[in-house]
Amino acid sequence: MLKPVKFSPFKEKSRHLTRTFCLSLVALIFSATVAFAQDGEAASGGADDGIPSDPAVISAGEALFKQNCTVCHAINDRVVGPALRDIHTRRPLPWIISFVQNSQKVIQSGDDYAVKLYNEYNKTQMTSFDFSNEEILSVVAYLKAESTKPAETADPTTTTTDGQVAQGGGSGVPSEYINIILIGLLIVLALILLVLVLIVSVLTKYLAQKDDLDEADKDVVQNRFDLGKTLKGNTFMGFAVFIFTAIVLKSVIDGLFTVGVQQGYQPAQPIAFSHKLHAGQMEIDCNYCHTGVRTSKSANIPSPNICMNCHTVIQNVGGQTGMSPEIQKIYNAIDNNQPIEWVRVHNLPDLAYFNHSQHVKVGGLECQTCHGEIQEMDVVYQFAPLTMGWCINCHRETQINTKDNAYYDKLVELHEKKSKKPMTVEDNGGLECAKCHY
């Protein structure tokens, strides 16, 4: 198959070119390697793995790592991506560099390790970072320095925050100590009383034996308090009956006022959802879940797809692993296509009309005004009485924010003609029967 090679000036020239090219390529690679090695040596002071150990480089790497990587990576824990402890021993440097710069390219090139990693992490793409080789080296240097330190188990941040929140409520002495102190004080007082009674009886006995007392003093010493007589006396009886009747009447009136008022209603819910955790600790805005509150009559109970915005990833609380049984209930509801039967807490009678958007969006009320400190409640209860008197009172007191709202200009003008007080909801018809009853 070999053809005899013919000498020709053209061929010679091309061969010469090829040779020059090859030579220069080798030279380039060589010089690059040397330069690389020199770079590495200059920074690492002679370490042979090419990872710098200069503290300045490590701290630069730390800054880079914390700014760009910690959202998905930790040193000891698997987060979104793998734990990066001992990464320098697991993967060669050039691989790390090309993976950080463009992970998709490495995966598409068919690199076994990269493909395996990609599949293991549910095909989550690692973002490409346009870092220079030196920057990635500094991050690896930081990771190497961290890897040599002993592993610490990740402290469950949620639990510590929880603890802080729990303690933050009481200032100074915790409530259980107050009880103990009170009981102690009571015992001391009872002892003092006992001692005083003893002293009195001893003194009385002593005085009774004395003969040189005058009549008045004798009366005092011999006078006995007759309990039975006092109890049967009309004054005491009248007094007791009066107190008893007063107490009974007071409870009757109080009891009658609770009829039809569901203040304090705190039903058990099908899922132990805590507003304290979600709205308090995690600071999730009420509007995020109660999507109807600015657009409709009802604030809405979120459908499970809103729960799953977070709970696809977050499956347990307080740093525990595995699926929490309460969160499992959301999954079950979705799998079985069954609604979660939350128990409605605030049941306004059918005879009264209430509109959330009117109060929250137009009126600018905070949720807490009517629902109480919901971000402190583990289980929600009805905070406000929701009686007509309560509604009316607020309508009388609340001033309308008429600023920068042309709708109110004429109304304010009319109002100012007859009154000097600021315009309240009442002045805008907030007490008219048909506003709420129709």
Partner: protein, 209 residues
């Protein structure tokens, strides 16, 4: 003494009234209703459902049919009073926005094709900020650094000004809010189209910080 006994008897009768204190709501017990028929809705009521046909029988005047408090629709799945919109139907809207048809994973396409219908005015940006604080802040943080209280636990929340996303065009941001991407899930059901575009305007100011 006889007089006294009489008084004591009266007192006992009075104390029976104290039982009224049991009318107050507590725990699972909603308390005594003053006029139950007026409290319970005859038409279907949102967010409350009574599936027990015998509930409130004691004050029902009709002998047939479900009792007074029954409030659910036997024709709907799980007796719910509401139904999902029919599949494939499109909600009419006042602003004339067309239904959003770009496929879920076509982020680049969305970035090329979609233009923000709202101008970057001060009021749009301040509205966008208010909406951002409601719907995004708990993960993305006050300034979009991915350091919100949920974001810290959730992990994997990118900073808006990080190299990977700082140049993302408006259409792409809109698409990510609508359908989600990576660890972020779809928020299209919670945030209206117009509100999403307002959020996009505000997020763009955070990208450039």
């Amino acid at each position: 003494m006889i007089g006294n006994n009489h008084i004591v008897k009266k007192l006992f009768q009075l104390s029976g009234l104290v039982l009224l204190a049991g009318c107050a709501a507590k725990g699972d017990y909603p308390g005594v209703e003053y006029a139950p028929q007026m409290y319970h809705s005859v038409p279907y009521e949102q967010l409350s459902q009574v599936q027990d046909e015998e509930a409130g029988r004691w004050l029902t005047s009709l002998d047939e049919g479900p009792a007074e408090f029954y409030n659910s629709n036997p024709l709907n799945p799980s007796g719910m009073t509401m139904r999902m919109p029919v599949e494939g139907t499109v909600k009419r809207n006042a602003n004339g926005y067309l239904p959003y048809r770009i496929p879920k994973d076509s982020f680049a396409l969305a970035g090329r094709v979609m233009k923000n219908p709202l101008d970057s005015t001060a009021s749009v940006i301040s509205d966008g900020k208010a909406l951002f604080l409601r719907y995004c802040r708990h993960c993305h943080g006050d300034t979009g650094q991915g350091d919100g209280p949920v974001g810290k636990v959730y992990k994997g929340v990118l900073a808006y000004n990080s190299a990977a996303v700082k140049d993302a065009p408006a259409g792409r941001i809109f698409h990510v809010i609508t359908h989600g991407k990576g660890r972020m899930y779809a928020h299209g059901s919670q945030v209206s189209v117009e509100d999403r575009w307002k959020i996009v305007r505000y997020v763009q100011t955070l990208q450039r910080q």
